[in-house]
């Protein structure tokens, strides 16, 4: 049957959770307690850092981010029948601690403590990293890659780390590198913000926007690979951490 969606099967059978303990969620000590519980009870399937294994990835999946507290609580407490996710005998308080940890895993990077030197990271961003060729912060920089002004305010830390070190693991939607040869003879090089059978939306290296109909395009080359280099080997471990620190501090709402 429709296996893709069965992980939620049976949730419906259980009563509403006890929300009296949900206030634990805001407490850093709960997050830490949740981390320890996770290591002993969950990491076997979901990986030591929640990155997934036999069970799904809990860091980047929409399942966690889009689920409300009650759904998460029920999933942990009662398991997911039809899957390998078992029910737990942990008391409600500890279940909430686990959820506090899960939420922290998925919290925007700006809200969590990140090691590294922010100023040094900024230097790398502006200088040897060459990041601004493609990315903009507060209007400064290129437009071939996603705007980073609110990166730390909108993305969890692990996603930022992954984007820096393993950029090809997950392509940012709407930034596929492409070359379009127009029937007019003109050639446009840039990224496709969007394309369909009928239309192309391209931003070129100069930041100009082109809204094209399919009938105007003679030939096209679209790359599935991210144009972003991996900084795994380009930077030292310390430099990587500094860059990640700087990126994690980027929040549109912090500049006020």
């Amino acid at each position: 049957m429709n296996a893709m969606l069965t992980w939620i099967l049976l949730l419906a059978q259980v009563g509403p959770p006890d929300f009296s303990k949900s206030n634990l969620m805001k407490d850093p000590a709960s997050v830490e307690a949740g981390r320890r519980l996770f290591a002993s009870a969950c990491s076997g399937c979901h990986g030591p850092g929640g990155e997934g294994g036999r069970g799904p990835n809990l860091m980047s999946g929409r399942q966690v981010r889009r689920s409300d507290d009650a759904t998460l609580f029920n999933s942990v407490k009662n398991g997911l029948p039809g899957t390998d996710m078992p029910p737990t005998k942990l008391p409600d308080e500890q279940v909430w601690q686990l959820i506090a940890f899960l939420r922290a895993l998925n919290a925007p990077a700006y809200e969590v403590i990140v090691s590294g030197n922010e100023a040094a990271g900024r230097e790398i961003f502006l200088g040897k990293g060459g990041c601004m060729k493609c990315h903009a912060v507060s209007g400064q920089g290129g437009s071939l890659g996603p705007d980073l002004t609110n990166l730390g305010g909108s993305r969890p830390l692990n996603q930022i780390r992954e984007a820096v070190l393993e950029p090809n693991k997950r392509l940012a939607e709407g930034y596929q590198p492409a070359v379009l040869h127009l029937k007019s003879g003109k050639t446009l090089t840039g990224v496709l913000r969007d394309y369909t059978n009928y239309t192309f939306t391209l931003v070129d290296n100069a930041g100009s926007l082109y809204l094209l109909r399919d009938s105007e395009v003679a030939d096209r080359q679209i790359t599935q690979k991210s144009p972003m280099p991996s900084y795994q080997d380009k930077l030292t471990k310390q430099e990587q951490q500094d860059l990640i620190k700087y990126l994690s501090r980027l929040s549109a709402r912090s500049t006020e």
């Binding site: 209007g139 705007d147 931003v203």
Partner: protein
């Protein structure tokens, strides 16, 4: 050939910047402000769609704004790109196809509210978030340039309005007056977002006007919000802005006096934020009759002399005509039949009150209803017909009051207006000669009286408006004759606009959850 035209446009797009002078020109192929122009007339010179061919209108595209339940935005359009807002969101669309170019979402903003639109200047578009941040985005990529917080939700403020671009400034206002928050109007630098000036709509202690409030408490918690966009006269360099009701809305016992500058039209120097003049429509209001209807700037011959005028259809049921240079009151005419709180407006512009119409704990019947005879939905003015096209609501309410101690930031203090089930409200679109107040024609809008739909007027002698049954209607601007309609099957709570791309005129409007664009039917070509 078609291709050639399009490439030319693109070339233009890549360098084009919206200049103050462009906005000064008023609507043409673009629609650059909430009301299309600084004058607030919402009248477009486009005439490709006209009274003779409007029957051939057809849907060109529909864009669904995900999760939208009640769009109230007026889109703006520049160079073939349409910008429309929802709560903490701005969507940039290809104005020919409705295809999304980019979308901005501020997921950190507090709460969900309606949003009435964006502003554009230079290569930037601007919106306000629910929690009073002014956000500047790159108009082609949606990249964030900056966020500026200009008021705090902790003080009871929120924002829903379309920011207003004037010269090098972005003018913003606030909501929250219905729970006491003290009104202000602010100008921010369009470049940096720094605040340039701020004008409080309730005077500070000891300032002129403060004597119109009996309690000092009200000077901090008196309402008079500025939640709608405004209009502007470039020659006089004056902004025309409307202010909301005094607070508490329905009980005036603790705020004896006229309560300046609530329920007023204020004229403000755009460079300095200094109050040039004000006119208060409903002194000491106890019916929640915010003055947030549109101030329409018109130049007309009145009593034999050409005058610079401002027209204002107020919630209280009177259409006011003022001299917009001096604020001098010239005339007021009643534009709804259901009006019983005043017998008229005297020579000074003061209402001649009917006693016993204040809200009481047991309830008092009064007309118009709390929703007002007019409201924020846009009227329009066609200089060729000389008519003001005004959505009006014929309705009365029972008004209740309470003398409980009002607590700021927690709402109405147990009071309000309740509709009368046996007397359902009824919308009418009225074409009014502003000089005489005469209703030249009217168009009945049957329905449950739940619409909040405005109008747009065009040189093609077509007036477009939303009705009370989810239809966008085109009527002859001269006669009110029905020309065309399209059912969106949704409540319309926004005002239509018109623009053109590649030489083709479009009409667009938001329904509850979608943006619809219409144009003349044309057979497809191979």
């Amino acid at each position: 050939m078609r291709f050639g035209i399009w490439m030319t446009l693109l070339a233009a797009t890549s360098v084009a910047q919206v200049k103050y002078e462009d906005i000064l020109q008023g609507p043409n192929q673009h629609w650059l402000t909430y009301a299309g122009s600084y004058s607030g007339q919402r009248h477009s010179p486009l005439s490709q769609i006209n009274a003779a061919n409007a029957r051939n209108l057809t849907t060109k595209w529909v864009y669904h704004v995900p999760d939208a339940k009640k769009l109230e935005a007026t889109p703006i359009v520049y160079d073939g790109i349409l910008y429309v807002t929802n709560s903490n969101q701005l969507h940039a669309l290809d104005a020919r196809t409705g295809r999304r170019i980019w979308v901005y979402r501020d997921e950190q903003a507090e709460g969900q509210r309606v949003n009435r639109g964006a502003a554009i200047l230079g290569d930037r578009v601007y919106l306000v978030t629910t929690d009073c941040h002014l956000v500047a985005l790159h108009r082609k990529t949606g990249a964030i340039l900056w966020h500026k917080k200009y008021a705090d939700t902790k003080d009871g403020y929120f924002a829903t309005m379309a920011p207003f671009a004037v010269k090098d400034k972005i003018i913003v206002g606030m909501g929250g007056g219905d729970s006491g928050a003290r009104g202000f109007l602010a100008a921010m630098s369009a470049t940096t977002g720094e605040e340039v000036w701020r004008l409080w709509t309730i005077p500070g202690k000891g300032e002129p006007g403060s004597e119109t409030w009996s309690r000092e408490f009200s000077l901090k918690w008196g309402g008079a919000g500025t939640w709608l966009s405004g209009t502007y006269d470039p020659a006089l360099n004056l902004l025309y802005w409307t202010t909301g009701n005094p607070w508490p809305d329905f009980y005036g016992g603790d705020r004896a006096g006229a309560n300046l500058y609530s329920d007023s039209l204020i004229a403000v120097d755009a460079d300095t934020g200094k109050l040039k003049w004000y006119f208060q429509f409903t002194p000491h209001d106890t019916h929640d009759w915010d003055a947030q209807s549109w101030p329409v700037l018109v130049d007309l011959v009145y009593e034999g002399k050409p005058r610079k005028l401002v027209l204002h259809p107020n919630r209280n049921g009177f259409l006011y005509m003022l001299d917009r240079v001096t604020g001098q009151f010239l005339k007021a005419t009643q534009f709804v039949d259901k009006l019983d709180w005043a017998t008229g407006i005297d020579a000074q512009g003061r209402p001649v009150l009917v006693p016993g119409k204040d809200p009481t704990p047991g309830g008092t019947r009064a007309c118009p209803a709390v929703r007002g005879a007019a409201n924020w939905m846009s009227p329009s003015f066609n200089p060729a017909t000389g008519l003001l096209y005004l959505p009006t609501l014929e309705q009365c309410d029972i008004y209740f009051s309470s003398t409980k101690e009002p607590k700021p930031m927690i709402g109405f203090a147990g009071t309000g207006g309740e509709s009368i089930p046996a007397e359902p409200g009824k919308f009418m679109l009225r074409a009014i000669d502003p000089c005489t107040g005469r209703r030249v024609w009217e168009y009945g809008l049957p329905g449950p009286a739940t619409a909040w739909a405005g109008t747009v007027s065009t040189a093609g002698n077509v007036v477009f408006f939303g009705d009370d049954n989810g239809q966008l209607v085109a009527a002859d601007a001269r006669t009110g004759k029905h020309l065309w309609h399209f059912g969106t099957s949704q409540n319309i709570t926004a005002s239509p606009i018109t623009y053109s791309v590649d030489g083709k005129q479009y009409v667009a409007i938001c329904s509850a959850s979608d943006v619809f664009a219409f144009g003349l039917f044309e057979p497809a070509v191979e």
